[in-house]
Amino acid sequence: MLLLLVPAAILLALVFVAPMLHYVWLSAHANSVLTGLVPIPNQGANWIRLVSDQRFWQDAGQTLRFTVVSVSLEVLLALAIALLLDQRWRGRGAARALTLIPWALPTTVMALGWRWIFNTPYGPLNQTASLLGVAPLNILSNPAITWMATVLADVWKTTPFAALILLAGLQTIPTDLYEALRLEGASQRTCFLRITLPLLKPYIALALLFRLAQAFGVFDLVQVMTGGGPASSTESLALYAYINAMRFLDFGYSATVMIGSFILLLLLCLISWSFLIRLQHRTGRV
C-alpha cells in the first residue's frame, strides 16, 4: 500500500527537500563568476554579508510592507465580496464566475496591463486626471507611491481566491442559527458579529496564512510590472534573490538570500499564527 506513495514522495523530496538542502550547502560557499562558478567554501562569509546587506533589509522591509498591506486589504475586500455573493439574487452564479477571472489569468499578463493603466500621461487614470484638470501623477516612477500600485494590482488578482475560501466558510453556517438569533430580536449587525464572524474565523485564518505566504514570495508581479524599481523601491526578496543569481551570477549569495527570506517568512507565519490563536482565545471560541 505504501508503495503507492513512493512516486509522489520521491517527486516531493526532489523538488522541495533537495533544493533547500542544496541552498544550505551553497550558502556556505562562494560560487560566482569571480570563482569561475566553482564552489569554494567561504566560512560563512555569505551570511556575514547578508546580515550587513542594506539592500537585503530594505527589500525585506518592502516585502513585509507589501505583504501586510495587500493581504489585509484582500481579506477585508474578500469578506465583503463573499457576503455579497452569498446572498440570493438573480445572476449570482454568473457573477461568481466573472469575479474569478482576475485570479485565473497569468500574473505577467495583467502586470503589463497595469503598467499601461498607470502610464503617465497616457493611461486612463492620468487621462481622467487631466480631464479633471489635475496634474498627472508619475505613479510608476515615484518611489513613494509605486509600491501602492503593485499592491493594487495584487489585490485585484488575488482577492477572488480569498473570497472563495470565505464564501465556502459562509456556506457551512447553518441558517437556523440566524433565525434563532433574529427571533430574539437581534439586528443584522448583531447577527454578523455574533454568528458570522466567529464561525468564519478558521476560514479567515486559512485565507490569511495562504495569502501571507504567497504575497511574501511575490515575484512575477514586480518583475514584470516595475522590474523592482523605481530605485529598487518595489524590489521583493524573491526578486533580489533572482537578480543575484541571474544578473550578478552570484549563486552562493543568491542561495543565502533565499534561505534568509525563508527564515523571515517562517517568523512572519509564526507571529501571525500566535496572534490568530490569541484572538480566538480572547473571543472565547476555538
Binding site: 508503495l3 542544496h22 466573472l98 505577467t108 503589463l112 512575477d220
Partner: protein, 273 residues
C-alpha cells in the same frame, strides 16, 4: 440588504473585476493616435492592426498558446497519475501517518515555490532539461502534488468503506478496485484537481522563465513578460493589449465553463484541509 444598495455593490464588484480587462480590450482595437488620446474625438479610432501584428509576428502568437497548452495538459496528466495512488494510500493508512503526511502537504502547499527556482535551474542544466516543454511538466507535477493529494484524498475519504469491501469480496484486486470502482466515483474531484493544476501550469512564470530560452518554445506568461522586458520605455502597448486579449480568451472560457469544478476544488480544499 436593500435591493438598490445591492445592485450598486454588484456593479462596483463587476467593474472592479472586469474593468482592467475591458480597458485592455479597448486598447487592443485602438489606433496609435487613439491610444494617446483615449477620451478625445478623433477620426481614426479603431483598428485591427494590433491583432494582425501579433498573429503574424515571429513566432506567431498562437505558438505560445500551443506551448502553454502542451505544458498544461502534460502537467495535469502527470500530476494525476502520481497523486491519485498516493491519495488513496494516505486515505487507507493509519491515523497518525495520515495526520503527519497531511500537515507536511499543507506546509508544502503554502511554500512560496519561487524560492526553489535556482536549485531547479541547476537540475535542469545538469540534466539538459532546458528548452524541453515536456521537461517542465516534472517540476510542475511535483509542485502540484500537495494540492492534488489533499483534494483527491478528501474525495477518497468521502466514499463509503463498505463499497470497497464489497468489491474486495467480489475478488477484485487493488488495481481493479481503483480502476473500476474508486477512481470513477471520485471523477468530480479529479476534474476539479485537473483544472486547478492546468491553470497553475499554464500560468507558472519563474521556472518557465529560467528553463526556456528558445523563443519558439516560450509559454504564454514568459512570452508576455518578454514583450515587457524588451524595453522599459517603449512597450508596444497596442500590440501587447491584443496579446493580452488573445491570451486571456482561453482562460476566461475555461473559467466560465468549469466554474463549478474550480469553486468546488478550491472550497473543498478549504473546508476539509
Amino acid at each position: 440588504m436593500k435591493t438598490p444598495t445591492r445592485r450598486l455593490l454588484i456593479v462596483l464588484l463587476l467593474s472592479w473585476s472586469l474593468g482592467p480587462l475591458l480597458w485592455q480590450l479597448y486598447t487592443s482595437f485602438s489606433t496609435n493616435e487613439a491610444l494617446i488620446t483615449p477620451f478625445a474625438n478623433i477620426d481614426h479610432r479603431w483598428t485591427l492592426n494590433h491583432y494582425k501584428d501579433v498573429l503574424t509576428g515571429n513566432p506567431p502568437f498562437w505558438r505560445y498558446l500551443i506551448n502553454s497548452l502542451i505544458v498544461g495538459a502534460g502537467s495535469t496528466i502527470l500530476t494525476l497519475c502520481i497523486a491519485t495512488p498516493a491519495a488513496y494510500a494516505i486515505t487507507r493508512s493509519r491515523g497518525t501517518i495520515t495526520k503527519v503526511v497531511q500537515t507536511m502537504l499543507i506546509v508544502a502547499a503554502l511554500f512560496p515555490y519561487v524560492l526553489l527556482f535556482l536549485a531547479l535551474l541547476e537540475v535542469a542544466r545538469s540534466l539538459h532539461l532546458g528548452n524541453h516543454l515536456l521537461a517542465l511538466t516534472i517540476p510542475y507535477a511535483a509542485l502540484s502534488q500537495p494540492l492534488a493529494i489533499l483534494l483527491l484524498s478528501a474525495a477518497f475519504r468521502d466514499l463509503p468503506i463498505d463499497l470497497e469491501d464489497a468489491a474486495r469480496l467480489e475478488g477484485l484486486g487493488l488495481w481493479s478496485r481503483l480502476r473500476w470502482v474508486l477512481i470513477p466515483l471520485i471523477a468530480p474531484a479529479t476534474a476539479s484537481t485537473a483544472i486547478l493544476v492546468f491553470l497553475f501550469a499554464w500560468n507558472e512564470y519563474p521556472i518557465a522563465l529560467t528553463w526556456l530560452s528558445d523563443s519558439s518554445l516560450l509559454t504564454l506568461p514568459v512570452a508576455m513578460a518578454r514583450i515587457a522586458g524588451s524595453s522599459i520605455y517603449s512597450v508596444p502597448y497596442g500590440a501587447y493589449a491584443a496579446a493580452t486579449v488573445l491570451g486571456s480568451i482561453p482562460l476566461i472560457a475555461l473559467v466560465l465553463i468549469f466554474q463549478k469544478s474550480i469553486v468546488s476544488g478550491l472550497t473543498s480544499g478549504a473546508v476539509k484541509g
